[in-house]
Symmetry: C2
Subunit: 177 residues, 2 copies
DNA sequence: CCCCTTCCATACGCTACCGTATGTTCTCGG
DNA sequence: CCGAGAACATACGGTAGCGTATGGAAGGGG
């Protein structure tokens, strides 16, 4: 079976979700795909290039899709609630997101994480403005909401089974004047 | 210079803070200490044992001290504010805490993280009860507050320079009925 | 002072992964 | 149907860290 660049980033994406950053390693990936690293090195000059292409693919495919999907909700409350519920649900089963957060120190991952976070914060700020908050306060609430999401996601990996019943309270607290 | 068990966990603790989990490696640590791994392997059977002793030392020395220090504040508001300010400040400059969060998947780190988190959540719950919240709601607020902290800490490593001015708003939001 | 234990250095083999070099197979356009 | 380029395999050398084995130094109790 011949493989192209996209095949490899897809495989790497899955490995990233399941095994974290260190699982994106040329030789194990090749073995897993029933190939040898000769194939990988034909499509990518080195490991960082594969990682780069992989995270950029994730950025393209997942970042905007979430926002699009949330926008199908009608009221700001529903949007916020859906956003939290959906994003946290993705986080559950070994997601790419958590792998990237854990690997935030990596110089390939850092810029991607930065771009994605800023985009999300921008969207969240707009969302809070729809609740009637002023510009500055909407930004603060967005930061708080996003931190809350990050923290929930983090807790899921370090304390599974303690995260669930907070959503309603969180939304209420976040939107209270 | 002769070294004992505590010397090595201290060195490992520093390495953990500065370089993360992967920096707790026998050979680099020994080199850094001007010794050879022969010394380390005399005091610890293997790498995991060193890591274990190191994180347990951190658990002893840092977990309870924070709570003690916060308890010196008078009002619940001041306690909450101090707690956030202090813990987030520790997080800034390459802390052990962040290294542990990033390595939450590790089977040595996980149980420690779990114990510490539960202890902190317990304390936070008590704190929110002092605000007049009922038992269940205090627990939810505690979870939210702790997630908020985790998220802020996480943001500090992936987006340095965007975290600061949220403290007041966060405290207000968290304590609002 | 000497011996026994503690502490440590040196040397070794092993694994996992990186990256390179070179040869082989597949595929498709002419 | 054949030749060129793309895709891949194989083999190699290199690095970093783990863990073991064994001998040497160091220091305190007898």
């Amino acid at each position: 079976m011949r493989r192209n660049r996209d095949d490899w980033t897809e495989i790497a994406l899955r490995a990233l979700a399941e095994g974290g950053l260190s699982a994106v390693a040329i030789e194990p990936l090749a073995a897993r795909a029933g190939a040898t690293k000769g194939s990988v090195y034909h499509h990518f000059p080195n490991r960082d290039a594969l990682l780069q292409a992989t995270v950029e693919r994730w950025e393209r495919e997942h970042t905007e899709k979430v926002i699009e999907l949330v926008e199908s909700e009608r009221t700001p409350e529903d949007k916020l609630r859906t956003l939290f519920a959906m994003v946290l649900d993705r986080t559950r089963k070994g997601s790419v997101e958590m792998a990237l957060l854990a690997g935030a120190g990596n110089e390939v991952i850092a810029p991607v994480l930065q771009r994605v976070t800023e985009k999300r914060l921008g969207y969240l700020t707009d969302l809070f403005r729809q609740f009637g908050f002023g510009k500055a306060q909407a930004r603060k609430r967005a930061l708080i909401a996003f931190s809350l999401y990050l923290g929930q996601a983090q807790m899921w990996v370090s304390l599974p089974g303690l995260v669930e019943p907070v959503l309603d309270e969180a939304v209420r607290v976040l939107t209270a004047k």
